[in-house]
């Protein structure tokens, strides 16, 4: 906490709340947003971890409604990146 080391790691745990879960279109929205940041973005579910900027990776999560995912951002714009990704999940990937 408050450790101003060279490498800080920010992580958030979120619940998928949109009606369809992280289906292809939701993954597309997620990946496009993640790709705008310079930080590395890793998404995890259970013991699987994938690259948040790769649609092939994010599709592998197969996160249904109610599933819990972890998002981790590491890099120069990590705080901003994590906040943006959290927003996207909470906004249900812009659906409805």
């Amino acid at each position: 906490m408050g450790d101003a080391g060279a490498l800080t790691v920010r992580e958030a745990t979120l619940v998928i709340r949109n009606q369809q879960g992280m289906h292809a279109r939701a993954c597309q929205v997620f990946v496009r947003a993640a790709s705008r940041f310079r930080s590395k973005i890793v998404v995890g579910r259970d013991d699987l971890e994938v690259d948040g900027k790769s649609i092939l990776g994010v599709l592998m999560l197969a996160a249904e409604p109610g599933a819990e995912i972890r998002i981790r951002a590491e890099g120069v714009d990590e705080a901003e990146a994590l906040e943006a990704m959290r927003q996207i999940v909470e906004d249900k990937f812009g659906e409805e």
């Binding site: 009606q19 289906h23 790769s54 092939l56 249904e64 109610g66």
Partner: protein
């Protein structure tokens, strides 16, 4: 010539199509081959080229679909393109080629396999429906690798039924400009929410998905009958049967063209009696059909899907999200959520239920729910909470005794008090109703009606319990008969009991889906009919064609009859002349679901 066969799949897009098959065979499985070391780099180049051509093809498809305004299909192809453009895709293929010295085709299949496996085993049916998606996107690359000539619709002059394992969104671009020649689509894979299903619906093409055995059975040129209402695919019907099916196709087509105009008109008899015409759904995704059908709201939202086909119990939040979604989309019309109707033939393994000798007389419906108060409370909480987002009602399945109803209502009161204590937003006045689907509930209806806000008659179970018929038993299934006077009298009794207590009675079940029977139910005083969204336009047309006074007179006459055959004959004589002829023509002589009509009675079509 091979024998006629009927395959049962899942109805994915309503309509009825009869034409010779055009079978689209997928390029896989390509032969896996171990490369010699010097072949590795050229193979990677071969893959790179095919990948580039596939991207170009998909990019072009996106452009064309955008121009055509096909946004749904365009969105799907965009995702496929994104998969091909993902550097991780090329990296994964190259790794397999270099590391395992696989040829490019085998490498692609090896990369797709874990996706197919993970999705196919997924707890959620929606994700299972997506099992083939990644493989379908890669199929564009496989086609280019093998420089395969795809069957072109350009050469088609005659109507066809398109048959495939599944359809990738990018493959549907080839339908463009030939849609009038594609009279139906049938796929072996997929579910109601698969891409093939969604695309067929957006294109308005009748479609059945999940027809197991289809690819092995169907050959190019075989005559196929695709019934997008019931979900069957009939292969190679005999000559006379084929003629009947083709006539039916014409009837359904003209009827649909006309029924589309009814969507925004009210469902009322000619002399002004309103009937609430609503639809049954199981998945939130089906709301789309409901809204398109012109139904007023949802009369039966089944919730078993949360509990079946998955390894764990649904959480309150997960259920809340689904109920809320449906309530919002259907608002201001109402949605009746039926609480879990588990047991019987619907049991999830993790609930620890054991096989029963007599499941339909066993641990099911509200009995099951009251035995699992924790799980039941979670659902009640979710429904009460979702109630603030729309016009929600709740009803309980398979209530047999007054004591069960009391116990259920007490549990609801506890849940409301708990939510209030926790300061959790909920609708404390959410109307509570019950299903009338056992003879016991029919006879206890006068007392029960004083405790609930509405009755909904579940006709399938009520018929089964009243007539002591197990529909699954082939020897007696033909005795299952909605028009037995005992059934009509049961409906009459429940409706009267309800009216005496000031509540309305609806019918949800297959019985309500047949136009002439629906009119009879209206005559019996039923105020709401809830049916499959696909049946909504037909029922509306039927209700709008009659006077309530005539329906009422017909109902009174039928209540005094001795047999179903007598009732059927009477309806054919008195009611059918009032209904639009193409509505009553639905029953083909000799078609499965009407085959059981008593011998000698005037048939819907055959008579006169």
């Amino acid at each position: 010539m091979a024998k006629s066969r009927v395959l049962t799949g899942i109805p994915a897009s309503p309509g009825y199509g009869v034409a010779p098959a055009l079978v689209l065979r997928s390029p896989e499985p390509a032969e896996a081959r171990r490369l010699a070391p010097h072949e590795v780099e050229p193979e990677i180049e071969r893959l790179r080229g095919a990948l580039a051509r596939a991207r170009q093809e998909l990019g072009q498809a996106v452009g064309e679909l955008a121009e055509l305004g096909e946004d749904e299909a365009r969105g799907m192809v965009e995702v496929e393109l994104m998969v091909l453009e993902d550097p991780a895709s090329f990296a994964a293929f190259a790794e397999r080629i270099r590391g395992e010295r696989l040829n490019a085709e085998a490498a692609i299949q090896a990369v797709a396999a874990p996706y197919t496996e993970r999705y196919a085993a997924h707890a959620s049916p929606r994700f299972r429906d997506r099992a083939l998606d990644v493989a379908a996107a890669f199929r564009a690359v496989l086609n280019h690798l093998q420089r395969r000539e795809l069957p072109s619709f350009e050469r088609l002059q005659e109507p066809v039924v398109v048959v495939a394992r599944d359809l990738a969104p990018h493959e549907t671009i080839r339908f463009e400009g030939h849609r009038q020649r594609i009279v139906a689509i049938a796929t072996e894979g997929g579910g109601r929410t698969s891409h093939s299903a969604i695309l067929a619906r957006t294109f308005g093409i009748p479609c059945v998905v999940g027809a197991a055995g289809l690819m092995a059975e169907a050959q190019d040129g075989d005559w196929l009958v695709v019934d997008g209402f019931s979900g069957t695919v009939e292969l190679r019907p005999s000559g006379p049967a084929l003629e009947r099916r083709r006539r039916r196709q014409l009837r359904v087509a003209s009827q649909r063209a006309r029924l589309g105009d009814l969507r925004d008109l009210p469902c009322a008899t000619r002399d002004g009696r309103r009937v609430e015409l609503s639809a049954n759904i199981e998945l939130p995704a089906e709301v789309e059909h409901v809204l398109l059908s012109g139904a007023r709201g949802i009369g039966l939202y089944r919730t078993e899907f949360f509990y079946l086909d998955r390894p764990h119990l649904p959480t309150e939040e997960e259920q809340l999200a689904a109920y809320e979604e449906v309530a919002r989309r259907v608002h201001p019309e109402s949605v009746i959520v039926r609480t879990m109707d588990l047991g019987g033939d619907k049991v999830a393994s993790y609930l620890g239920a054991t096989k029963e000798a007599n499941p339909f007389l066993g641990w099911r419906g509200i009995r099951f729910a009251l035995h699992h108060p924790g799980m039941f409370r979670t659902q009640l909480r979710a429904i009460y909470r979702a109630g603030v987002h729309g016009n929600l009602k709740m009803m309980f399945p398979m209530v047999t005794t007054y004591a069960e109803l009391e116990q259920t209502l007490a549990l609801c009161a506890e849940v409301r008090a708990e939510l209030a204590r926790q300061g959790q937003a909920h609708d404390p006045d959410l109307p509570l109703g019950m299903m009338v689907e056992t003879p016991s509930a029919v006879w206890s209806a006068p007392e029960m009606a004083r405790r609930v806000a509405f009755f909904s008659i579940g006709s399938n179970d009520l018929i089964q319990y009243t007539l002591a018929i197990d529909r699954g038993n082939e020897r007696i299934a033909h005795l299952y008969e909605p028009l037995e006077p005992a059934i009509l009298r049961s409906v009459d009794h429940a409706v009267r009991a309800g009216r005496a207590a000031g509540i309305w009675t609806g019918v949800c079940g297959e019985m309500a889906g047949e136009p002439r029977v629906a009119v009879l139910l209206v005559g019996l005083g039923v105020e709401e009919l809830s049916v499959s969204p696909f049946d909504v336009p037909r029922l509306k047309a039927a209700v709008r064609a009659v006077d309530f006074a005539a329906a009422r007179a017909a109902a009174e006459a039928c209540l005094g009859m001795r047999s179903a055959a007598e009732v059927r004959a009477f309806l054919a004589r008195e009611l059918d002349p009032l209904l639009p002829p193409d509505l009553i023509g639905e029953a083909e002589p000799g078609e499965a679901n009407h085959e059981t009509a008593a011998a000698g009675e005037p048939d819907a079509e055959g008579g006169a």
